[in-house]
């Protein structure tokens, strides 16, 4: 029986579905040597995630179309002139995009450079085997490898095939979209030195460490699993595994490839940013401040509202500070922090990608634990008047 046949069957010998092969995470690298994988399974996982991604994106477009129809309804039923409504909407939308575009591009550029130059061995060499140390290391690894919530999933996926403990990968997965220099710069730009900047990083660290330790201590008991469905059998470049092994290219060629990758990522991520900007602008233009205030001032309702908004909008963490800034005047500080911490960890986009890497039970915990922790912290901040 070939390696692929072994992988493609459950422990009792019954075949897995070819759409999403399930593989128990390797405890040791020797159990699943890299050269046994030919990437066939990863195309199934890619196809599955890609189809879900398309469904999500089309849903966002439908939501946007409904919003635009609502604008038309408001226009027809109020004294607001068409040009003033369009001007208000377009100025807000363009301002959000203009402010956020530099950070989006910087994030994709870093992602492209990581893909072209960083090797897995550079990372796994420095990860402590101690669970607590490993989780702490995973929490701050984002400062060395700044990737947003979309880029971090394939990175973690690759690291799991190199014996990275599940808990360390989870901590990195949750923390890296925030704990990186680009998000630090964008949050600083949007909110300046203050409670929002400090709170965002502190809460993210607390949640990532907490969830990471939960996985470190409870993985076996709760039968939590990840599945390294993609292995790059190349010389060790940290890729998404969709490319076959190749000899190392000259540096100028790798820089060019990094820029081409960055361009593609700018479109892949930019579409979510633009839809998020359109929805945020429409909300600001159509919804009166009184309604926003009624939602945004309650210590609990404001947090729940912003968490739902963060989950649905799925804006990249490098630019979500500017989306949050649009609501800063009407929502509580705790809810703004909930938006800025929960959104980068879990949103519709990342949930789809998680399903391509982890088991359903693990994904459910990856959603619920950050949701509850950020909610509790944010509500506590609101009730205690901090910020």
């Amino acid at each position: 029986m070939s390696s692929l046949e072994q992988i493609d069957k459950r422990a009792d010998g019954t075949p897995h579905s070819r759409v999403r092969p399930r593989i128990r995470v390797a405890e040791r690298a020797e159990e699943y040597p890299a050269e046994k994988y030919e990437g066939e399974g990863d195309w199934d996982a890619q196809a599955n995630g890609g189809q879900l991604g398309q469904i999500f994106f089309r849903s966002m477009l439908i939501l946007l179309a409904v919003t635009l129809l609502l604008m038309l309804f408001v226009l027809l039923n109020t004294r607001v002139r068409f040009d003033t409504l369009i001007n208000a909407f377009s100025v807000r939308f363009l301002s959000l995009f203009i402010e956020a575009a530099p950070f989006l591009l910087l994030g994709t550029l870093v992602s492209g450079l990581i893909e072209a130059f960083v090797r897995r061995e550079h990372i796994t060499r420095w990860v402590p085997r101690n669970p607590v140390g490993g989780v702490l290391m995973g929490t701050v690894m984002g400062f060395a490898f700044p990737v947003c919530e979309c880029g971090v999933v394939p990175v973690v996926r690759q690291l799991y095939t190199k014996s990275l403990p599940l808990s360390v990968g989870v901590a990195f997965l949750l923390a890296a979209p925030v704990m990186n220099p680009i998000v630090l710069l964008s949050t600083l730009t949007a909110f300046g030195f203050g409670p929002v900047l400090a709170g965002r990083f502190a809460i993210t660290a607390v949640v990532a460490v907490g969830v990471g330790l939960f996985f470190a201590l409870g993985a076996r008991r709760f039968n939590l699993q990840g599945l390294p469905s993609v292995v790059d059998a190349s010389a060790g470049s940290l890729t998404s595994g969709v490319q076959a092994p190749q000899p190392p290219a000259p540096v100028p060629a790798r820089i060019r490839q990094a820029l081409v990758t960055a361009g593609d990522e700018a479109f892949e991520m930019g579409r979510y940013l633009i839809v998020g900007c359109l929805l945020a602008s429409a909300l600001q233009t159509l919804v009166s401040q009184d309604v926003l205030l009624s939602l945004g001032q309650g210590p609990v309702t404001s947090v729940l509202t912003m968490q739902v908004l963060a989950f649905v909008l799925s804006v990249c963490s490098t630019v979500d500070a500017f989306i949050a800034l649009a609501f800063a005047g009407t929502f509580t500080t705790g809810s703004i922090l909930a938006f800025l911490t929960f959104g980068p960890m879990v949103d519709v986009k990342s949930t789809i990608m998680f399903l391509g890497v982890f088991s359903k039970r693990t994904v459910a915990l990856l959603i619920l634990l950050p949701l509850l922790l950020t909610m509790i912290i944010a509500i506590w901040l609101n009730l205690s008047g901090i910020g």
Binding site: V91, S95, I98, E99, P102, G194, P195, A280, Q289
Partner: protein
């Protein structure tokens, strides 16, 4: 065997399905380049023309310059890659010798982008809106004017009682500063003052803003409004000052006017409000270079 068929046979490259034909891929590739270069040119035009101030605080213009450079760089790199692929394909078709190539070159030149037309259309939206719609700042259509200290963004944190109020000491120096006060300065001070009637009645103000009408206002009054912006138009909030002008109805909304006159404190809708009684009103000033007010404080800063 053409290039595409050959690549599918190549042992080092994964077998994958082409989405649509090569023609559609080429169109998508060129559209992607056009959007990247277009956005780069758009950002450059905003910076050069000064219209960037309609959207973001000028202090952050350097970020837009970075975006301009990156958009152009990404577009040009994609042009290079695409042209290299065309040249390589042309050479391959001419020589039909797939043993003479370098496998690495094949991978670099054969770049299959997965950017579909719907994605391209979405990313093109800011470029289309930016080009088609005239660049203008926020105006009366977006305003939600608070006749107090301004919005709900903590605008009162920098307010202070008027120095030397009621004493006359230092009145000359203070009066010189007051002439430079904009609408928000006056409103913040008004909100912070414990004795507004004594502090503000008779004070001379010289303010500029755009005309905003509200149906609830008494006849012969309009609101002189400005937007306060911290970073971008999305976080901007409106502030205004009531102006008593018997020809208020003749002023079109969004008209920029400069009003010089004396302040009084009047009761409007059951609350005290600062009302400017103009000595002169110039409706031909036009839009200022900086249409927004930029606060000099950070409401989120630690105390």
């Amino acid at each position: 065997m053409n290039l595409t068929e050959h690549l599918h046979e190549h042992p080092q490259l994964p077998d994958h399905e082409h989405r649509g034909g090569r023609r559609r891929e080429a169109v998508q590739a060129w559209l992607k380049i056009a959007i990247l270069l277009g956005l780069g040119v758009y950002f450059a035009a905003l910076v050069v023309s000064g219209n960037l101030q309609n959207y973001i605080n000028p202090e952050f213009a350097w970020l837009s310059m970075i975006a301009c450079v990156l958009f152009l760089a990404l577009g040009l790199v994609n042009v290079y890659s695409l042209l290299k692929a065309y040249v390589h394909e042309h050479k391959h078709e001419e020589h039909d010798d797939h043993d003479s190539h370098d496998g690495h070159d094949y991978h670099e030149s054969h770049n299959h982008s997965h950017i579909t037309l719907p994605v391209l259309a979405v990313v093109a939206i800011p470029l289309v809106l930016g080009v088609l719609l005239p660049s203008r700042p926020l105006g009366t259509g977006a305003i939600d004017v608070n006749l107090g200290a301004g919005g709900s963004a903590g605008g009162g944190s920098a307010g202070a009682a008027l120095p030397g109020a009621g004493s006359g000491a230092g009145q000359g120096a203070y009066a010189a500063n007051q002439r430079e006060w904009h609408i928000w300065d006056w409103q913040q001070s008004f909100q912070a003052s414990k004795t507004p009637d004594a502090c503000f009645t008779g004070q001379r103000a010289d303010v500029t803003g755009f005309v905003h009408h509200q149906p609830e206002l008494p006849p012969g009054h309009f609101i002189l409004a400005r937007f306060v912006m911290r970073h971008c138009a999305a976080d901007a909030f409106g502030v205004g000052m009531l102006v008593a002008y018997d020809k208020a109805e003749t002023l079109a909304p969004d008209t920029w006017v400069r009003v010089q006159g004396a302040l009084r404190v009047s009761d409007v809708a059951g609350e005290p409000a600062l009302v400017l009684h103009p000595a002169t009103l110039d409706a031909n000033v036009g839009e200022p270079i900086s249409p927004y007010i930029y606060p000099r404080f950070n409401p989120y800063a630690l105390p």
